[in-house]
Each structure stands twice: as C-alpha cells, then as structure tokens.
C-alpha cells in the first residue's frame, strides 16, 4: 500500500479465498490507480490467476470469499451474477494466456469485437462494426492487412492476442486484467504486445494488472509490483526500488533465478569428435489444395539446414515459432522422414536406418519434449514410463535390474526412489521434466534433444532444471541439442548457438559471440526484443 493515489481505481481489502476447505488466498490487499500498471508476480499455484478471477467474480462454484473488492469505490463482492455481467467487459477487461481458446474459431474477428460492444451498448450493427474496426486499428490490426473479416485461424499467435486485447478494451474499461498475456508468444511478439498494453494504459489512463511469472517482463513495463507467494502478498512496492531491495527470501530467489547462469566449465567445442551431424536437411509439408487443377507448392519448413553436435557439447537452436525448429528436431529424431539431407548419429546414417539398426541407433539419441503434462501416458506408473526406452535393447533387463536403475536415475535427477510407484499427475511441472530427463537417460545416450523443454516452467523451476542439466552433462559427458524460442535460456546453457529463421540457419557460432556481437539483422532483432533483467 505504498504509492497508490488517494482514491485508487481498484482496491482489494483483506481478500481471502478458499476452494473447498483449502485456503488459496490469504488476507490479500492491493490497490491499482488509474493509468498504473501493477505486476502480479508469483510461481504457478501461488494464487495469481485466482486473484484475477476473484476481481472478475468468476471463482469456481465451490469457493468461498471474504474481504472486499471495490472498483471506483463500488463494492464488487456484493454484486449478483446479473449485475456482474454488465460490469465485466464494460468496466473490467480480461485478456487470457492462450489467445486461441479465448476466441470463437468460427466468427470473424471484427464481429467478435463488435459483439462485445453490442452486449453493453445499444448501438446499431453498423456502428458497432465501425467501432470494432477502430479498436482493431488501435491494437495494430489495420483494416488493410488484417481485415475485420479474418477468422482466428488465419492469424498468428501475436495477432490473435491483439484481437483478444481489442475485445477487452473495446468499451474502454477503466481496468484491464491481463493473465500471462505473453507467455504463449515469441520474444518478438511478446515485446510488441507488452508495448501495446503499456501504451493503452498510459494513453487512456487505464489501470492494468499484469499477471506474470517473468520478472524481466515486470521490470520492463510495470510501475508497481506485488509479489505473491503461497497465496500471500509477501512484498509490494514501486518496481524499480522493489527489484533493487527485495527482502523476502522467495523474492530474492526469484530474482536470482532470473539472473542466474548455470555454473559449468569452459565451453568445449570443436575438439571432441562429432556425435551428431545434420547435413542439408530439407523438409516440406503439402499445403491445402485450393483448386482441382494444380497442387499448390509445398510449404518448405526446413530449407537446407546443417549442424554439428560434438561429444559433451551443448548446442542451442533459437528461432521464433514457425521458423522450422520443431520440424528439424522431428527429422533429427527420425520421427519424420525428410525430403532431403542426412542425419549421421555416431558415425552411422540415422535417417535411412530401418528395423534392428534403427532401434540400435535410437539408443544413442533420446528426447525431452516441451509439454510436461503431455509427455507421459497418464495411465502408466513412473517406473514403467522411465523404463519405456528399454524397449530399444535386444535383451531388456529383468524386473529387479529395471527397478534398480529407475531408482538410481530418479535420485540422479533429484527425485526419490519411492516416486517410481507414483503416477505422472501426482507431480508438478518441474518434477515431470525431471522424470522426462530420467527417461531420456536410461539408455545412456550420447545426445539428448530438448524441444522447448523448459518453456512451460516457472523461472525458479526453470533455473533448477537448467542447473541439473549442466551437472548431468559434466558428470556423464552428455551432448545436448537444445531447441528453444527463449534466448535467455539458450544463452545460459548453450556452448554454441544456431539462429534459425524461415527454415534456414542465418547465423551460428559460440553463444557469447552471437549474443554480444550478432551479425545478422534477425539475430539483432531477436536479442533486442528479449526482456533482460539488468
């Protein structure tokens, strides 16, 4: 409660929320002034999203709420559902994390924005459409290029998020709540969307609550920060001062995590023999046929990519979504056949291997995937999941050996041997990525490929996983191929980095050289767009 103006726009007093019998938010007090940007920061599960839902009065049915939420002095907590319906949208705008699910896939974007307007104001369809067009222009979707007649699937992720913002601000609400609005976006797009939100807040005098787990984003755009830890606000204050003088141990840990670099010895490049060589990979996908006469030219997702990973080395591949990095990885892992090029693993042709030879070679390369929730069959126990790659061995070990090696791996990745009998849903996102790493280690591969493996994790957990990876690489002499859109992550772990754009490698070299003196314009743009804590 430090710098809020005399009559704050939004005032939360002693808010407590429990779901069932579990208290989630404890005695939370906040204030947001007009034109002010408040960052609400915390790990997943800290109650950030629930705070946003409490303000919107959209809490789940089995929850109980005590305390007061006032918007412009008006009590929201006592309002009925029908009264709240007129407040939402008109006085409170909300932007969600995943823009695709917030939009109606079958409705033109102009109509979706117009619908919000017509729900709250008695205006004609033509007036609403006109206002919708203006709002879309305001958020950077002018009539010329992204006409109001487009459907959500025709837009990129960043453009969709702009539409969602347009819907939220169409009625010029005094307060906008944005829940992780840029977490699902690339660095470049993230910078644009953040700048847009900042401009809207400052030019319209709109209060903005920015819910995020990313301290770098907070430092970039917010005026004040509230740090949420286990349902309580542990620190609150003006952003610049607060980040300099964090008191609470959790806040310090978060800040340290945002700045940290995993400790490892000097980069070892070039000297060791190559374990993975990728030569001139080309991958194409057929495009939807628009006329019967001729087939359209296929989409070239990967266009002549070559890269090398030496033993014990960590190689990063960065690029925005759509740059072809995931397609490249699927080809490298022999999950897809490529249109052209070779993958050579430990000196043998991997891309054209079949049958027994393919199974033998697969032992040399394993993978950790992006989604910690999707990479495990929910019906399998952890032991069975980790031991799944044993299928690659000609003579799988007996049950006792299997149990012993799974237990050993669980301890190696920082879990306990007893976890083997549990199921994936019992673990947090970070713990699941540890299980995924254990699964990748069981065949003692030479290379592990990571597809955005830490993108879905909180800053603190992400740092822990990156440190674990650095340790494992040192101890086991593993090589990593680390694909990510997150420059900070790649910078903190990779010895060498390849930058990918439109299916091509535009620049590569030692990581520090790439980041300190980038040559290619695209690399420079990427680096400039990434929020970095000074």
């Amino acid at each position: 409660m430090t710098s809020a103006s005399a009559a704050p726009l939004l005032r939360i007093d002693a808010l407590s929320v429990s779901i069932g019998a579990t208290p989630i938010l404890k005695n939370l007090s906040l204030a947001v002034g007009a034109g002010e940007i408040l960052g609400l920061v915390g790990a997943s599960g800290s109650g950030k999203t629930l705070t946003a839902l409490a303000i919107m009065q959209l809490l789940p049915a089995n929850s109980t709420l005590t305390g007061e939420i006032r918007l412009r002095g008006e009590l929201l907590t006592g309002k009925s559902e029908s009264e709240m319906q007129s407040v939402r949208g008109r006085d409170l705008g909300l932007v969600f994390q995943e823009p695709m699910t917030a939009l109606n896939p079958l409705m033109q974007i102009g109509d979706q924005v117009a619908e919000t307007i017509r729900l709250h104001r008695s205006v004609s369809a033509a007036e609403a459409a006109c206002a919708a067009r203006e709002t879309l222009e305001l958020v950077g979707l002018p009539g010329g290029r992204a006409a109001p007649h487009l459907l959500p699937y025709e837009l990129s992720g960043g453009e969709r998020q702009r539409v969602a913002i347009a819907m939220a601000v169409a009625l010029n609400p005094p307060l906008l709540i944005a829940d992780e609005p840029t977490t699902a976006l690339d660095v470049g797009t993230q910078a644009h969307v953040l700048r847009l939100l900042q401009e809207l807040a400052h030019s319209r005098g709109m209060g903005l609550i920015l819910v995020t787990h990313d301290l770098a984003v907070v430092a970039l755009v917010t005026d004040r920060v509230a740090l949420l830890h286990q349902g309580e606000i542990v620190e609150q204050g003006a952003t610049a001062q607060l980040l300099r003088h964090l008191q609470h141990p959790y806040g310090r840990a978060l800040l340290a995590a945002a700045r940290s670099k995993p400790k490892r010895s000097a980069p070892r490049s070039g000297t060791a023999p190559p374990v993975l060589e990728v030569r001139d990979i080309v991958q194409e996908y057929p495009r939807r046929r628009r006329s019967l006469g001729r087939a359209p030219a296929p989409l070239r997702a990967v266009d002549g990519v070559s890269l090398t990973v030496h033993a014990g080395e960590t190689v990063g591949v960065v690029g925005e979504s759509g740059s072809g990095k995931s397609s490249l990885l699927r080809v490298i892992l022999a999950l897809e056949g490529a249109r052209g090029g070779d993958v050579i693993l430990l000196g043998e042709g991997f891309s054209d291997a079949r049958g027994r030879r393919l199974r033998r070679l697969r032992r040399g390369i394993q993978a950790v995937f992006q989604d910690p929730y999707g990479s495990f069959d929910p019906r399998w126990s952890v032991e069975r999941l980790i031991a799944e790659p044993y299928f690659l061995l000609d003579a799988p070990p007996d049950a006792a050996t299997r149990r012993r090696s799974v237990a050993g791996l669980l301890e190696l990745v920082g879990l306990s041997a007893a976890d083997a009998r549990r199921y994936p849903h019992e673990f947090s996102g970070g713990q699941r990525q540890r299980i995924a790493i254990a699964r990748a280690l069981i065949t003692e591969p030479a290379v592990i490929a990571f597809d955005e493996a830490v993108s879905a994790l909180d800053a603190l957990v992400r740092t822990q996983i990156l440190e674990l990876l650095a340790q494992l690489s040192e101890r086991l002499g593993l090589a990593y191929l680390f694909v990510s859109h997150d420059l900070n992550v790649v910078r903190s772990i990779a010895d060498r980095t390849y930058v990918m754009q439109h299916g091509r490698i535009v620049e590569h070299g030692p990581t520090e050289a790439i980041f300190t003196s980038p040559h290619h314009a695209y690399t420079r743009a990427l680096i400039a767009a990434a929020p970095i804590l000074s």
Binding site: A61, L65, L335, Q370, P378
Partner: protein, 273 residues
Amino acid sequence: MSIRRDRPRRFGLIAGAALTAFFVAVAVAGQFWTPYDPGAMSIMDRLEAPNLRHWFGTDQLGRDVLSQLLAGAKTSVGVALLSVIIGALVGVPLGLMAAARRGAVDELIMRGNDLIFAFPSLLLAILITAAFGPGAVNAIIAIGIFNIPVFARVTRGGALQLWTRDFSSAARVAGKGPVRISLEHVLPNMVGLLIVQATIQFSLGVMAEAGLSYVGLGAQPPTPSWGRMLNEAQTLTALSPTLALFPGLAVLLFVLGLNLLGDGLRRRQERSE
C-alpha cells in the same frame, strides 16, 4: 459467497444408470423366472385388461403380457449388445489403423466407412434379412454392420488426437512401432470415449431391433420380442389399447435410460478432460 456457474448435472446420469440397470436386471431375471410361461396360451383369458392376476393384461391368445415383456427383454438386450460388440470389434481396430497409418490406408478405411454410412440403415437391414432370411442372428449382423463405421470414426478421431501428444512421440523415440503404440498408449487412453459411444449405440440397437421385429424381419415366433408385441398389438388397438402401451413403454424407457446414461457419461468425460 460463491457463484454457481456449472451446477453438476448428475441427475440424468444417475437416472440413466438406474433405468439401464433395471432393464438389464429384468432381462437376466426373465431368463429364470416369469409369472407365467410367456408362450402359454389361454383363449379363455384373452385380451384381458390389466388386473391382479395379469398385471399388464393378456394378448389376443391369452398370453401374459408381463411374462412376454420379461422374456422379450433378453432379445432386446442380447441383439443390441451383440451388435455393439460386432461394431466395436471390427470398427475400433479399423479406426486405430487409420489413425496410425494415415495416408492411403486412412483414405481407404474412411471412404469405405462413408459408403456404409451412405446406405439408409433400415434398407440395408431389410436387404440382409431378405437375403439370409429373417431372424435374431441376422438382425444382429445387420445392426452390427452399421455400428462398424460409427466405432471406426470415433476411434480414429480420438486416436488422431492422442497421436499428437508428446507421449506418442516419446514412445516412438523409445523405438516402438505404430501397432504397439496403438495398443499400449492410444487404446487405453480412449476407453472412456468408447464406453460412451457403446452406450449410445446400444440404445440405437434396442430401437433398431424393435423396428426390425416390428416389420417382421427380426426375432421370429416363438421368440418373444418387444417389437413383435407392438406389431401384434397394432391391429388390436381399438379392442385393447393397453396391449401396445406396455411394450411401447418398455422400449421408450430403456432407450431413454441408455441415452441419459450415455449423455451423462459423455459430460463427465468432457469435464475430466
């Protein structure tokens, strides 16, 4: 203070499960005990209205309607169940194969499906029974054939979605092939979906059996059947209106119960996802 947005609609699920369990129990019980022999005629007692001796009355040959209903439940449940099993046994593997192989195999299976879908179902059932003769077994086959594309399509849809999940890629990195992944990862994760579909197909099967028997192509006398009871009652509606009432109610309530159960299960499935 709380806001109730999605009040759980469990009443339908419970009512559906109760109705379904009741009729299945009746079908089983009807095998061992009926108040009278369902085939025993007694001309003296014909076309009686419901009374204390014959709760649901008697038909034109003096047979006890309640006993016939109990015995006929077996035909309904049996024909519907076996046709669902046929549909699932053929359709599920086809759907799994289409999703795992994609490409030409997928096209072949799905266009074959469309071919069966394109036929009016009753017409094909009549064709089959006309070619092989009427009877419960041929009714099962006819209805079963129509269940195949339904199961194939539902399985393919669910399987395609599971194939995009990272655990399918992880299994491939672990060297497993499409058949093994389909059986180990894909099928077990869509059991719920298939149970829901089976319930819905079961209710359609009960209706189809009643329909075929009604037009004389299903179970033949003396096998008791609700559809044939309706057929025989039709000409006597003026004389004895209650005669059509009870078999009609039996079909209605059983199908209603199965639909409520299927809907409730589907909703629960969607919530859990």
